[in-house]
């Protein structure tokens, strides 16, 4: 499988739209176009193999099920995962002749996309850095009272940052990267230690994504119980996620009633000061 210049350019455009500084708005750009599941669909359409694209997207999505960027720190970059990593994984899977729906293909996609995504976080910081130039324009405009120019600062100029650090890297890496991935096929046999390690890591990587979610949910040892109950429902009882969500609503309703009942004896001091409820979201590094 090769990736033509035109295909690479379309992928580059999507990379601009979805990057963390979100040319298409946070909800549409980062949270929709940037999710690997959606990226898999887009890559599948662009490269003309939707099932393979979706399969890669599904596999990769797991690793990044919790893609949070608190304080603007990123450990992985969605434009690189979804629009460089997934296309390259599709090429690798096709050139190695793996079954697209199989576990091996999924683990390959996970490893490759994660690697690219982690390295790609450089692009995130590069765009943010270049935006400082446009922001400097913005401060001058406010000084001069030319407030209408602020729209250009927020919506126009950042496209230049993305042209340099989103469009071009995606264009070049998907076009030439596909050839490199195909060439690597002969250098690294499937039963050698590097490839075995790659696939094993691929199977483990989603654990990191889940662990990041856990870090948000778990404050004390007792908080592990809902997590383990959910795991048991799926692993031992083989319930699907909708069923688990519905069961969890029961516990949530009980918890809500208990919490509401707790405070009602002490005179209903309804306004809690904001400082009490500040949730610790220091600039930790998350993916």
């Amino acid at each position: 499988m090769q990736i033509s210049w035109l295909q690479a350019a379309i992928l580059g455009l999507f990379a601009c739209l979805c990057s963390n500084s979100c040319m298409a708005g946070q909800a549409i750009g980062n949270y929709t176009i940037g999710r690997p599941l959606v990226g898999g669909l887009v890559c599948g359409i662009v490269l003309g193999n939707i099932p393979l694209g979706i399969a890669c997207g599904v596999a990769t999505q797991l690793v990044y099920i919790a893609l949070v960027t608190p304080g603007g720190t990123v450990a992985a970059d969605v434009r690189a995962i979804s629009y460089i990593g997934i296309p390259l994984a599709m090429v690798a899977i096709t050139s190695r002749g793996l079954n697209p729906m199989g576990t091996d293909a999924a683990n390959m996609a996970k490893s490759l996309a994660t690697l690219v995504g982690t390295v790609g976080s450089v692009l995130f910081y590069a765009v943010a850095f270049m935006n400082l130039i446009w922001q400097a324009f913005g401060w001058k405009d406010i000084q001069k009272g030319k407030l209408d120019r602020l729209y250009a600062v927020d919506f126009g100029w950042p496209w230049l940052s993305h042209l340099v650090f989103s469009f071009l890297p995606t264009l070049l890496m998907t076009h030439f990267g596909a050839q490199a991935v195909t060439a690597l096929r002969d250098a690294l046999p499937m039963d050698g230690i590097p490839m075995k390690t790659l696939f094993t890591v691929g199977a483990m990587l989603p654990c990191v994504g889940i662990a990041i979610l856990l870090r948000q949910i778990i404050n004390k040892a007792l908080d592990f119980i809902p997590f383990l109950v959910g795991f048991t429902l799926a692993a031992s009882l083989h319930l699907n996620l909708v069923s688990i969500t519905i069961i969890s609503l029961l516990f949530a309703a009980i918890m809500y009633e208990i919490e509401m009942a707790k405070g009602s004896n002490n005179g209903g001091s309804a306004t809690v000061s904001a400082s009490e409820t500040i949730i610790d979201d220091d600039d930790e590094e998350d993916i």
């Binding site: 446009w134 654990c207 990191v208």
Partner: protein, 280 residues
Amino acid sequence: MDVKKKKISHKTLSKSFNLWFWGALTCFSQEHMQTFGYLCSMLPIIKELYPNDNETQQKNIQAYTAFFNTNPMLGSVIIGTTASLEEARANGAGIDGQTINDMRAGLMGPIAGIGDSLIDGTLIPILLGIALGMSRNGSPVGAIFYIIVWDLIAYFGQRFLYFRGYKLGDQAVGFLVGKQGKAVRRAIGIVGGMVVGGVLATWVNVTTSLQLKDTTGHVFLNLQNQLDGIFPGILTVIVTLFCWWLMAKKHVSAIWTMIILIGVALVGVVLGVFNPGLKY
């Protein structure tokens, strides 16, 4: 003095909201984060409240040049709130830029924390978990489901919060950081925990290939079967808790956790504990 009360039109509020929705982070930098998104979404409001008065416009927009960063989804409630404060200021309510700024600064932390755990930590994993199930066989249905459902929730949810913030002014956030809000968050935390557990068990499967054989080649210990006899999927849970322990307790970054996993996998492959068993 009988001055007609200034009122921001619905059209302008809509415009302000849409500017936030589409532009909250477009000119992101580590230094100012969402400041320019905020400036742009307040611009139509300031322009309408002080028409043809460039000097006041310029003076009032200064309040929004301060650093701002929060969860952009729930954060729209703050934008709506400042819109209503700005309207009160234009009507001479004795609010100054400093008051507005203090309120913004005090809210962005809690809202970021709540938003990140509710939206990124609970809602999106549930939606994605369901979507992944639909797309399991390479079908695009799951991805399309996610696109439609998430974007409808995100757009109308944020719009609702924005107008709620405008309507209630600085009381609007009382719900989110107050007692009822706390109870809701605790309850949703349970849903989040169980769903995350379910996602892990459904989608992740770490297995060992370690087998011990006696001299005749008869397998007398198949570690994976033994482990599954204790608790199905126990190895997956162990690896996840190990990652959690590294990051939460040892403050190892996500990237280093991944590198440590590569080390674990390499050693495991060499020792024969892990073997994906691949061939061409």
